[in-house]
Amino acid sequence: MAISEEQVKHVAKLAKLSFSENELHEFTSQLGKIIDMVETLEEVDTQGVPFTSNVADTINVMREDVTIGGWDRDELMKNVPESEDGFIKVPAIIDNGEAGA
């Protein structure tokens, strides 16, 4: 199955990535080839075969319900690109165009 540029645009939107027209073109062709490669799995009969998501034996890991020390707030803020009064600063969620409408 080849993938269309429209589908690639949709997936990019889900993944919060943007591509230029050139990149989109290139990615569509590369992803198409990769998808062709992974489609060889179609020839494997998997009827009734269980799904493996993880090879660890454990299912649920429990611990005692006791309080443990957390992180220092200033330390946690150390790598924040922009902050003010101990809060993480981001631009307006609704952009100006919509806010003014």
Partner: protein, 490 residues
């Protein structure tokens, strides 16, 4: 002072014990060696010089303990392992300014063992690649031939050990990222059983496949380091509560009666003749040592790459959602609203290969495609696992090549993702099944090292080390050294 850079951990330890050298001397010499060779190899992204010096002095004050062979030994750390206050980038622009506020569990263990972390090693961006060429920062060179790639993704970790910059490094392996670069650089690299080593503080690529493991110049060194980094960790709920044996204890050289399997699928099309010859000779060496080697079949191995690219990319697309420009890492300057922070920070911060995998993973998990791709891949993963289970009902170990080829040229495959992906065809099934796998030096082809892959049963690294040690002692491959270590041409 004698040249320390090509000595094993045990040799360095006896020099430290006899006080011929101090940990401070060894650390200073290590940084001198790194600085001398770095223009050729370019394996380090960050050096930890000041802190390493302080650690060495503290160890010297305390005195080297005879019982701890790792005390005062320098170690290099792959840059996807978080190190407190030491820049950790996963070789990505998006983490280019990231200084972790905590240590990975393996780092806690490194400090407990009195190992001295000297710096952070280059890799493919977020461990996605097989040549270390997808690093945002630099191109690491193969220790044997600087026109060749070091392999990947732990290319910096492999080249640094092979070039004598450090006696040991930590790498990580999601689909072959320890074994293939170990093979390309003629060193020993082991990916432990899934769950053997804590993943806490390993920047996640594919959580059901990732493992941290040691890279060294000898089998025994490797076992000694795995001893130190293994064990259950409450901070990683997939780490296993199984006991950790002394992996160095069984290195007797005696493997009489061991039952070894050689899968025919690992010796077929696409394997370079020089690589195939080296593995066949290795099989003869095992026979000469008293083991039996028989051909077996792992019929679903050929689907490994397809299964892997769906599963690993799907997990990556989920894991890498956290890089959004909000709390840490790179934030785009081209922003007018919150959506721009996410989209532009990610689009400008991730490299091409990482975006390709995020896209493939998002596609595989998206509505309408989940059953055909992600679910199907998880089912074929079960079949791959069952293939191994059947062989391990009758055999102790599986051997084969670690990589279909020797190291290729820098720039040769970077524009052809599928050819690059096929590099991992022999290592990927091991991750999918959660098994331990290692690469040990097994000869040369075209003047470049060939690695023999040894695959063991779950949590049976001890048998792998035993066999690898016997093989190493019976052969001379590990004694050949690249020119940069003082050796002649292979």
């Amino acid at each position: 002072m004698t040249e320390l850079f090509n000595k094993s951990i045990e040799e360095l330890h006896s020099l430290l014990i006899s006080k011929e050298i101090t940990a401070t001397d060894l650390t200073a010499e290590t940084f001198a060696r790194i600085k001398e060779t770095e223009p050729q190899i370019e394996s380090f992204l960050a050096l930890n010089e000041e802190k390493a010096h302080d650690l060495a002095q503290a160890i010297d004050r305390k005195g080297i303990t005879e019982s701890n062979v790792l005390s005062g030994i320098p170690i290099g750390i792959k840059d996807n392992i978080v190190t407190k206050d030491l820049r950790t980038t996963a070789a990505s622009k998006i983490l280019g300014n990231f200084d972790p506020i905590y240590d990975a569990t393996v780092m806690d263990k490194v400090y407990q063992a009195d190992l001295i972390p000297v710096g952070k090693l280059n890799m493919d961006e977020f461990a996605m690649g097989a040549s270390t060429e997808t690093s945002y920062f630099k191109k690491t060179k193969n220790a044997w031939d600087q026109t060749k790639v070091p392999g990947g993704s732990s290319g910096g970790s492999a080249a640094a050990v092979a070039a004598g910059q450090v006696p040991v490094s930590l790498g990580s392996d999601t689909g072959g990222s320890i074994r293939q670069p170990a093979s390309f650089n003629g060193i020993v690299g082991l990916k432990p059983t899934y769950g053997r080593v804590s993943r806490y503080g390993l920047i996640a690529f594919a959580s059901s496949l990732d493992q941290i493991g040691p890279m060294t110049r000898t089998v025994k060194d490797n076992a000694l380091v795995l001893n130190a980094i293994s064990g259950f960790d409450a901070k990683d709920s997939t780490s296993a509560g199984v006991s950790v044996p002394d992996f160095a204890a069984g290195l007797t050289g005696d493997i009489k009666g061991m039952k070894v399997a050689l899968p025919k699928e690992y010796m077929g099309e696409g394997i370079q003749p020089g690589v195939r010859d080296a593995v066949l000779k290795a099989a003869d060496t095992f026979r000469a040592l008293g083991a039996t080697v028989e051909e077996v079949s792992l019929p679903h191995s050929k689907y490994g790459v397809a299964v892997y690219y769906i599963i690993a990319s799907s997990e990556a697309s989920s894991n890498l959602q956290r890089f959004d420009g909000i709390r840490y890492g790179f934030r785009s300057e081209h922003i007018t609203n919150l959506e721009d922070v996410y989209v532009n920070s990610r689009s400008e911060g991730f490299g091409e290969e990482v975006k390709r995998r995020i896209m493939l993973g998002t596609f595989s998990l998206s509505a309408g495609y989940y059953d055909a791709y992600f679910k199907k891949a998880g089912q074929v993963r079960t079949l791959i696992k069952q293939d191994f289970d059947q062989v391990f009902n009758q055999y102790d170990l599986i051997i084969g090549p670690a990589s279909p080829t020797v190291a290729f040229g820098i720039g040769e495959n970077i524009n052809d993702p599928i050819t690059m992906y096929m590099n991992d065809i022999l290592t990927i099934p091991v991750n999918l099944a959660g098994l331990p796998g290692m690469s040990v030096p097994a000869g040369f082809s075209e003047g470049l090292p060939v690695g023999l892959q040894i695959i063991g049963k779950h949590f049976d690294e001890a048998t792998m080390y035993k066999a690898a040690y016997a093989f190493e002692q019976a052969t001379d491959f590990h004694k050949k050294q690249p020119v940069i270590l003082g050796g002649g041409k292979a």
